[in-house]
Symmetry: C2
């Protein structure tokens, strides 16, 4: 089953908003076994919307439209699609009811009559209830053509897509073909290792993949994700191919894999600490709180994380962490000695089992020939033993800080797991 | 002058990559006075690319294509576009030369002959040199039709767009019409005030805007941005209309505007502190370092920011910040008293002129009837005076923490500026 995506919004074609809806739709449809052949955006103009819907239906018979619904967009998509299908608009009393309730809840009474046009739907359309907002989705199917209309607000669109649209499309696809042909992916996440080092470890791995599975390297501040994708296979064959490819990949990477899918390294480390009934503290210089923020972004992090010190100025390193004036004078703030003293200092002050310290030069200023911008010392303390590591991270200030926080978490993970 | 955008890549239609190239192209073209009427993505298939290029040229005569260039994509866009224009491919010796140099620099010699196809260009095409990568851009103009081909790597595309494409398009538009018709925007940034409160302050402001200028509310974790956009006016008239609209808007919002364009509130606050030769410290509970990370993301923040304490556990609030056990027991960790003691405590410990303290319930757990999830107390200390504020922020954990950090910065800004 092929389909096209149409996203409606002048903001989109002008580039004032990045089109995350198109990406969300593409991923959800591919996973549901629907092949997206084209994705189009047009501005908020009825003639452009009608033309784009007509072309898409002409090519594939199925179009999923997001945006141009609801009062602020004058419901232009609904009107344009009704015209393409040759349907008149009829008032839906259930929508009228929900609108009146929404206005009552907001204390606006009576509802201005102008809002009633929101309750008009193309004759024969199935109304898809929107649990996150006022504009419902619409499923319009006639003479072998299908148009699904969704609101443009991302949270509303995603909820409708997941709860209403994907199950209906899967059912429709199941009727059309058995088994479904899908595109499916599986991701392994690594940190603390570069792309070329991973490539060396993989060796001749690519030769094992066969013609239907590809491996992509996705480097980011979180490390390098390895995404296996099975293309255009029946769903059971896709699952089997991915299972086999992942099983062969994992041992080649050994301790470098910290998780799968969209697992977060901070959550992985907190899980290890909880299992070990251990507590954690942080001491940050160049990252300025970013590591603490990463850790506390995880719900329930308070079960292991106690807190820490942001020692941005050297006076704070001395006073709050007990770093020695000698170490600072002799080796400088960005040094193995100071990183180790920061880790021991915060662990002693907060009485914890694990500590992470980071000190570095995030740039753009402050680099020297001996310690260029990107130089970072990381010390991790785990059960009284302190290990220190140095890196020179590439990129700008944001890159250096982001990588430093992630690499530091991975050093603690490997210390706890005793991984190489 | 109208045009269409075409972005080529199977990753884009499958949603595995969010299409930032389409947004970057849309913004650059609108600012250059070129109206984008449609933006299309198709997968890496020659027939789909040729069909999309042909349709776009049929509608507007101009298409800007990104992606499907270079060896990894088999140069499929170049071949498809040559076919649409009815041009044969000819070898460009200057490109051959650059390719040989690139391979020599990488130590691969001689260059594999298969790479020579990269040097083939449609007859009559202008080659746009790519300073960031190997695949050059191409400008193909014939019989009133124009196709511009750019690589899909975002940094390469943006550099070519700015250095080669926009100047040529502006020149072309200047020949076609004088003065140029443009779409231009100007943004005022507010924090610490909701959309409906802003709407109340604006009153009948909308009536002043006239038919060519619109005002959009863009709420985010950074507050609410107000974006004025002048649509389809000659450039001088657009500038004048925006100037007038912004001049009338600013006084209505008074002290609530912290910046313009993409100015960052943390940078604004650091600038105020530097001007006042004042130093800053932070004490964070629920934000866990996020506020420090926001502040230290600004280059040169060390001129005012000393550091702080992440007091996630109550023991850290007691030991490192000197919060009283009485205040914790009597009022709880999320209270005005504790927020005030955290601000005074960190200011005393670090000897600073300004301090920000945040304590709250970020969720999803921990809420009570009296203090629901989202409840946050913020205290700001400025020159010995402590002011405290409470908010109940909507949204999930990330929303609550992001808003808390931003609102806290804005409270300090207003304390320093003595703004209401």
């Amino acid at each position: 089953m092929d389909c096209e995506i149409l996203t409606v919004g002048t903001e989109l074609v002008l580039g004032l908003t990045v089109n995350t809806n198109a990406a969300d739709l593409g991923r959800a449809l591919a996973a549901a076994g629907v092949r997206v052949t084209r994705s189009t955006s047009v501005g908020d103009e009825p003639a452009l919307v009608a033309d784009a819907v007509r072309s898409a239906l002409g090519r594939t018979g199925v179009v999923i439209v997001s945006g141009g619904l609801g009062p602020t967009k004058d419901d232009l998509t609904k009107t344009a699609v009704a015209e393409v299908f040759g349907k008149r608009l009829v008032r839906d009393e259930a929508i009228v009811q929900r609108l009146r309730e929404a206005f009552r809840a907001r204390g606006v009474q009576p509802m201005p009559e102008a809002n009633l046009v929101q309750a008009d739907v193309p004759e024969g359309a199935v109304v898809l209830p929107n649990t996150r907002g006022t504009a419902p989705g619409l499923w319009i199917e006639d003479a072998g053509r299908l148009a699904v209309l969704l609101p443009g607000v991302p949270k509303e669109m995603r909820a409708l897509l997941e709860q209403e649209v994907v199950p209906r499309l899967q059912e429709r696809a199941a009727r059309a073909s058995e088994p479904r042909i899908v595109v499916k992916s599986r991701t392994l996440r690594t940190a603390g290792i570069g792309e070329s080092a991973i490539a060396d470890k993989l060796g001749e791995y690519h030769a094992l993949l066969g013609e239907h599975v590809t491996l992509a390297f996705l480097p980011s501040l979180a490390g390098t994700d390895l995404r296996l994708t099975a293309w255009n296979l029946p769903e059971p064959a896709a699952d089997a191919a991915l299972e086999k490819a992942a099983a062969a990949l994992q041992p080649k990477l050994g301790g470098r894999v910290y998780g799968a899918g969209d697992e977060d390294l901070a959550a992985v480390v907190l899980g290890l600490l909880e299992t070990a009934r251990a507590s954690l503290a942080t001491a940050e210089s160049c990252t300025g709180g970013l590591l603490g923020a990463r850790i506390t972004a995880v719900p329930g992090s308070s079960r292991a994380y106690r807190g820490g010190v942001v020692a941005y100025g050297n006076d704070v390193k001395l006073a709050a962490l007990g770093v020695s004036a000698d170490a600072l004078a002799l080796h400088g703030a960005v040094s193995e000695e100071v990183a180790r003293e920061m880790a021991s200092g915060v662990a002693g002050a907060l009485g914890v089992d694990a500590a992470i310290a980071i000190t570095g030069i995030a740039g753009p200023e402050g680099g020297t020939e001996a310690k260029p911008v990107g130089t970072v010392w990381i010390a991790v303390l785990w059960r009284d033993r302190v290990r220190a590591f140095t890196h020179v991270f590439p990129g700008d200030r944001e890159d250096v800080r982001g990588r430093a926080a992630q690499w530091a978490l991975d050093h603690l993970r490997r210390a706890i797991q005793d991984a190489p």
